[in-house]
Amino acid sequence: MLEPLTSAGELPLLSLMLLGLPLAALLIWAADAAWARWVALWAVLLELLLAGTLLLGFDNTLGGFQFVERAQWIPTLHIHYLLGVDGISLLFLPLTLLLFLGAILLSWNSVRTMPQLYYTLLLLLLTTTLGIFTALDTMLFFLFWELSLIPAYFLISLWGIGPQRRFAATSYTLHMFVGGVPLLFGFVLLALGHGEATSQFDYPALLSGTLSVELQGTVFLLLLLGFAVKTAIFPLHTWLPTVVSEGPIALSAILLGLKLGAYGLLRFAVPLAPQAAQEYHWLLAGMGVFGILYGALLALAQSNLRGMLAFSSISHVGLVLLGLAAFSIEGVQGALFQLLNFTVISGGMMLIAGMLHQRLGSTEMLQLGGVANTMPLLAALFFLFGLASMGIPGTNGFPAELLLIFSALKSHTGAGLAALFGVVLGAGYLLAYYRRAFYGPLSHRVVATAPDLLRRELWLLTLFAVIILAGGLYPVLVLDTSRVAAEAWLNALVR
């Protein structure tokens, strides 16, 4: 039986967020198919309102978790329904919602087959994603983690744009299962090896507990493997370009925008096995630096925008790992900042790729050329997002990348130098694609007759652009929210 929720505030806001979406999904089926997109849109807008309330109510001078809700779930195994946010996870909620808002607006007129099912799946995916960010019980987290596969599978296989979407869906699911198994083992080991008689899945309790060093090594490697698959770390990265080139672009934007694997490393793998993490810093840094260069080189070799974005995201996540491996305050703050940035930068660029694809039927370099002639606004906004992805000052990529590079140079100097080389390559692949696809004369009739951004697209991208500029001009906005949590994260490692 469920115990009554014990929430800190008046309203169980987080539960409301999680429950509201499935309810909206039910509403979709009650209404006419033509209204499905409107229901989804309003659901996400209302959720954004809730997220806004969370932001206002959050006290970033306090450490620990806020808006905590706890209830018994499976008493025999000591598994709880435990939700809460801290400075690390809080900002992901509104940004995730924004990204899904973008996904819905991108699909607005393009999804014509089974719209009810499509938007239902999208809302369910959103529910599980929000669950991943708010769950504080490792089993609850794992549940959300695995549940997110179901909507993703159907979205890819039914609404994919490539001829091999079925294969992409299977490949994605299999990869995620391969990652899920070690994750589950890791969490179970953590729960059992905790030293007490009863098993323990409570994340805050696990944080303060002590785990024997030998067990920590195993746990860390298991969790690392599990999250590495989701992060798309070499050699387990092949699913990402496959899904991005075969799956629906709205989903690709979500996958590229939300680096859940890296978030998992930051949230679970490192703090739960702190000594092992420090022992294996070379592994993290090695994966990071290899990812930076490997991803950048592959991005340079792509002729399709979606492929290029997929590999550039692999390259960017490499830098985040490198920053994490530094175990310094600038490293973790930079990593967190950059992960938040990805939602608007990578997600935004992928949304633009989707808009291009809807207009031209392709994002292949050879099919494009001279896009800036007929779609100046789209080209300008893509360029702005590209600047953010290169870490140019004025955009939110700059402070984050600066912190990451500084931390990498300090802790792993050689790797940091390689990351600087990655900076040069980053400008290379982005501008090379921009030159071939957006500049140059008009050579295809579809490009010559395509319309510029529609009003809803313009508003959406302007919103993203404002976030990019705000984060770049006034980074304290983000960094202050996470400061206390990041310092606690670091202190727990040093302890």
Partner: protein
């Protein structure tokens, strides 16, 4: 001294052009200032922002004159504080910074005024003014910044605006290509700047100019050399000195006013300005000063010879600029920093005038271009080398660009052929890509037939193992000593040879050297 209005005025002077640029951008997004009708509002906004910025700086000059002393370091507050990294918002208004700031504001204002007529009825009028205003702020940040990091902000924004103006007529492929090339070359310099920034924070805990220059005297010569080296790479790239010189010759694709302000007058001097700012640091490292002289001499020669063989006025002016900036580098290397600053101020003014006047000169002078000087006509080798810009671009293409691209292609092949197949991807797993491969398959047996098919990584692994074992049995044990073993040895040999060939290519050597470095450090 001590007037409270100094800080707000300097902030306004720097930020106003940026705000105007934003306003133009937003106006364009909302559709308010398109076409010829929008020109008036756009140019008025731009001119008033730039003019007010100039007035603010003149006011600061006046105040300094009356007070008899410049305000010096003006600290506004913190921008970002994480751990040991304190990034302050501050401006250095010493005689050098104020003088340069005023000059920048003046030239920017005049050029903008010139452009109002020059770009009349151009399709990209609004875009041009937006980017010019962005550059105005960027350049003011470079010269007035109180710290290395704030200068870096301007440095990068100047690079971006330079890219956007080179690609002003982006429908021409050459313009787009040259813009990309210029920006990527500048990125190399930016990497050097970033490294130096990090070192400054690491050693002094601050990137403020006073702290950086004060702390530099306590550094060992190797450390000081590293720090100065990072800045030097940035300065060389931005000021288009050897070995980065050729990008600037490609940068003239933009409209003439932008060429004047970027490559004739202001941005090209940013590198020299950085050197002058860092005078105490460079004075500490004689080896780098010698290098400065050497690179300056080479760049001056490069510019001199290059200018002789140009047939259009803008290119000739550009090479002359490179030569002049080379002279400034020589002056810095010899320790004559004051001379270099005077040279900089004078050169910036007269070159802006020359560039802006160039189109009119062409219209009014109908003489054929000047013939080659006699001494150069007799030395065909030098002539040819100068025409080809001393093959510097081919050199950097051959040594850096092409190997990187080839490496990228090979990594791509590795990813699709090896990694993808290992992890399991549908396509290309069952197809034969070449006749060669088909023959090899026929020859070598192998194949997955008959043993059974598995799925997933583990399944494929088992399947592979089973088929290999079957193959081993069939080819080695059943036909021992026969054609099977021989064929296999031949194949192994071919593979080894392939590996050898790959390793012999210089890019892999580079890669291995780099990997070694990464591991060692």
């Amino acid at each position: 001294m001590g007037a409270e209005w100094i800080a707000p005025v300097v902030v306004l002077a720097v930020v106003l052009p940026l705000l105007a640029a934003l306003a133009i951008g937003v106006g364009y997004l909302l559709g308010g200032n398109h076409g010829e009708a929008g020109e008036r509002g756009t140019s008025r906004l731009a001119l008033s922002a730039s003019g007010l910025s100039l007035l603010g700086l003149l006011g600061l000059d006046l105040q300094a004159l009356l007070a008899g002393a410049t305000p010096g370091q003006v600290v506004l507050g913190e921008w970002l504080v994480v751990g040991d990294y304190r990034l302050l918002l501050s401006f250095t208004l010493d005689p050098l910074g104020l003088a340069m700031g005023t000059l920048v504001a003046l030239i920017a204002f005049l050029t903008l005024r010139f452009s109002v007529n020059y770009l009349h009825r151009e399709a990209g009028f609004q875009r041009f003014f937006l980017v010019m205003l962005l550059f105005n702020t960027a350049m003011l940040l470079i010269v007035c910044a109180g710290s290395a990091w704030l200068m870096f902000v301007g440095w990068e924004l100047a690079g971006v605006s330079s890219y956007l103006l080179i690609a002003y007529s982006f429908e021409r492929p050459a313009a787009a290509l040259n813009a990309t090339r210029a920006f990527v070359t500048n990125r190399v310099g930016d990497a050097g700047f970033l490294l130096a920034l990090f070192l400054a924070f690491y050693w002094f805990g601050s990137a403020e100019w006073p702290a950086l220059l004060g702390g530099a005297s306590g550094l060992e010569s190797l450390a000081a050399g590293l720090l100065a080296g990072g800045f030097l790479v940035a300065a060389l790239a931005k000021s288009a000195q050897l070995p980065f010189a050729p990008w600037i010759a490609r940068a003239l694709e933009g409209p003439t006013p932008s060429s004047a302000i970027f490559y004739g007058s202001l941005m090209v001097h940013a590198g020299v300005y950085l050197l002058i700012r860092l005078e105490p640091l460079f004075m500490q490292v004689p080896a780098l000063s010698a290098l400065l002289v050497l690179l300056g001499v080479l760049s001056a020669l490069y510019g001199l010879l290059g200018a002789q063989v140009q047939s259009d006025i803008k290119s000739a002016l550009m090479f002359a600029t490179t030569a002049q900036v080379g002279l400034m580098f020589i002056a810095c290397g010899l320790g004559w920093y004051e001379l270099a600053s005077w040279h900089l101020l004078a050169h910036a003014s007269w070159r802006a005038l020359q560039f802006l006047g160039a189109p009119s000169i062409l219209q009014q002078v109908s003489q054929p271009p000047r013939p080659l000087p006699e001494w150069l006509r007799r030395r065909r080798g030098i002539y040819h080398a100068a025409r080809e810009r001393f093959w510097l671009e081919n050199l950097s293409d051959g040594l850096l660009v092409r190997p990187t691209l080839q490496l990228a292609e090979e990594v791509e092949r590795f990813d699709t052929r090896v990694v993808n197949r290992l992890i399991g991807r549908m396509e290309s797993a069952d197809t034969v890509s070449s006749l060669n491969e088909w023959e090899r398959r026929q020859h070598g047996g192998g194949g997955t037939g008959g043993i059974g098919t598995g799925h997933g990584v583990a399944g494929h692994g088992m399947e592979w193992l089973a088929s290999r074992l079957a193959w081993l049995e069939e080819n080695l044990i059943l036909r021992l000593g026969g054609e099977g073993l021989q064929g296999m040895i031949g194949r192994v040999g071919r593979q080894a040879q392939l590996l050898e060939q790959l390793l012999e290519r210089p890019r892999y050597l580079w890669l291995m050297v780099m990997a070694t470095f990464v591991v060692i450090i």
